[in-house]
Amino acid sequence: MSEPVNSGSAQRHQSLAENLMREFADRGCVVKYELGEVTIEIPAACLIEVATRLRDEADFRFEVLIDACGVDYSEYGRSEWTTGEASFTGFGRGVESTGAHGPENDRRFAVVYHLLSISLNMRMRMRVYVDSSQPIVESVTQVWASAEWYEREAFDLYGILFGGHQDLRRILTDYGFVGHPFRKDFPLEGHVEMRYDSEKSRVVYEPVSILPRTLVPKVIRTDNRYLDNANQQQDPADA
């Protein structure tokens, strides 16, 4: 069974991208081929239709849903280096803003699915943007059973709802947890801390006592000189 493998990986994925473009462009899908990986962005309305076709059609045959996760794009491209106040939250250095801002409401959340085709040895990624005012997207559990827990996780951590999911409960956080901890506006240290109170002889919840602190600021640099293909920006000085 040791056939020459992976030899045509790039060609396979390139032609996959072309096939996807041909089949789904009229549905409003956008196909990208970057770093050897294929991504398709699907409008929420036709998610189930596209997913079912990706699973069943001979050109695709993505039998396995490898992973599904939520993403919160609200701070995408925002650097801590350029914040105004130099206190707990960032490092004001009078550097001009990178100009990037968080996305609009309808592109704040996304659900990203990773698919694997075992018969054709291909991978691809599907992304569906979710409106943050009404974060609901159709569940793909009817297409891939493994989506059940992944969607529960995305609901738990991001508060994205999945229509048609049979059992949408929290999965990773504590019983009775409030909030969706992986959202970018949820602080890293959380809201409550827990300890055993010997007088009340039970566990008590209190507001957190630790302060948020940034140890290494997030900086965004456009200097990628170690990349072969990054000949566009040769910024000699590190700002």
Partner: protein
């Protein structure tokens, strides 16, 4: 007629056979399971969120703590994702070292799995046998990284340092006789590679020993044959990977099908099962241990013949050596920048997967061009496997739940993240 009522049984999270902190709520009809509802998250540490607030390199040690019995494979998945994002070419020697340590890790994991799985099902002896060999392999971890478990040895662009020329030895102490210590040190006279080679020569006979105890053992077969059967179609649907998929008869192994590191050069076979039950998965994993041993041997031979750098010389992502740092201005600046700020990756998104001992371990990284990942999602094989718990134990007896937990090779560090 007496009235028969179903009842609900709480299994774990403090049960020794729950392999950590699994809480199962079982709806029982007598001794037969009607529904199993795993409650997970008791070990949820929010690692992925933590990683969003740290430079890339700071999260490598967190990777060890996902699946804490196959540490280096997790690191491998993570550093490979960053390397793909950066477009870094890893030196060949580092690739072979990684391949060798991935396989050592696989042995570590499978030995742990075999020992605990057999212990759960009632074969105490296996546990003692497998932990004897784990000791030697953990010594290999220690020799190369200083830590027996949480190594943080793989770095972006290679590995932290080259293999040591000398294997650490046991020191004389009052708990063991000098003769015993001398015997232990016999195999440790040479380099690390000598030690590993010696291990690969001893190991097949030891696997035979395990098989003598279990493979034809009547009790073992009664407990595992026909338990937790998964058909290939369901295995696809349930998102299985690794030995769980191969046990159902699907020849899928990322080391062969989407080779990474030096697996392309390695000569090894993929064992597959027929029936998709616990016994087949046992056979698959035991055979995988033999195959891993073959791979380690090939890596040792190659590493003996081919010295060379083990990490990239680009000091934007790998630190300069100490002498350069102390004597040269360039080195000093690189060192300072690297350790205060880290490196920025180009904006984009990558998913990279390795064949971890438990299945496909994948890292999905979204970068917005910063020195920290914008989003890190870890695809843990155990998460998908555990989600199939209800389906696998349905209709089985309570005692079989333990066998199914064992066969899934669950570790809660990765399930709960």
């Amino acid at each position: 007629m007496p009235e028969i009522r179903n009842y609900t049984l709480n299994f774990g999270p403090q049960h020794p056979a729950a392999h950590g902190v699994l809480r199962l709520v079982l709806e029982m009809d007598g001794e037969v399971i009607e529904r199993a509802d795993p409650h997970i998250g008791l070990l949820h540490r929010g690692t992925e969120k933590l990683a969003e607030s740290k430079p890339y390199n700071h999260s490598i040690p967190y990777m060890d703590r996902f699946d804490y019995v196959s540490m280096m494979c997790n690191e491998h998945g993570y550093v490979m994702a960053i390397e793909k994002l950066l477009g870094v070419q890893v030196p060949e020697r580092a690739l072979y070292i990684r391949t060798m340590y991935d396989e050592i890790t696989r042995l570590l994991n499978h030995l742990m799995w075999l020992g605990t799985h057999a212990l759960d099902v009632g074969a105490m002896t296996m546990f003692l046998y497998t932990f004897r060999e784990r000791e030697d392999l953990l010594d290999c971890y220690e020799a190369v990284s200083g830590a027996r478990m949480h190594a943080a040895y793989y770095r972006v662009g290679g590995v932290y340092r080259d293999l040591p020329d000398e294997m650490p030895k046991h020191e004389n102490n009052k708990f063991r006789s000098d003769a015993e210590i001398a015997k232990k040190n016999e195999v440790r006279q040479g380099s690390l590679l000598d030690f590993i080679e010696d291990f690969t020569q001893r190991f097949p006979a030891l696997v035979d020993e395990y098989e003598t105890l279990l493979t034809d053992n009547r009790i073992w077969k009664q407990r595992t044959v026909g338990i937790g059967v998964v058909s290939p179609e369901r295995a696809y649907q349930l998102g299985f990977s690794g030995a769980m998929l191969r046990g159902s008869g699907i020849a899928w192994d990322l080391r062969k099908k989407q080779p990474y590191a030096a697996y392309r050069e390695m000569d090894f076979d993929i064992p597959i099962g027929h029936n998709g039950d616990c016994y087949d998965r046992y056979l698959v994993r035991v055979e995988e241990m033999r195959q891993s041993n073959r791979i380690i041997k090939q890596c040792v031979d190659w590493l003996r013949k081919n010295p060379g750098p083990v990490i990239v010389s680009d000091h934007k992502i790998a630190p300069p050596n100490r002498v350069d740092m102390k004597e040269g201005m360039e080195g000093l600046i690189h060192h300072f920048k690297l350790f205060t700020e880290g490196y920025c990756t180009p904006p984009g998104e990558v998913y990279s997967a390795v064949e971890a001992p438990k299945g496909e371990f994948g890292c999905y990284i979204i970068s917005d061009g910063a020195n920290k990942p914008y989003r890190l999602k870890v695809r843990a094989p155990g998460f998908a496997h555990l989600s199939a718990m209800n389906e696998m134990v349905n209709g089985h007896m309570l005692a079989d739940v333990v066998a199914v937990i064992g066969t899934m090779d669950i570790v809660f560090g990765e399930v709960d993240r």
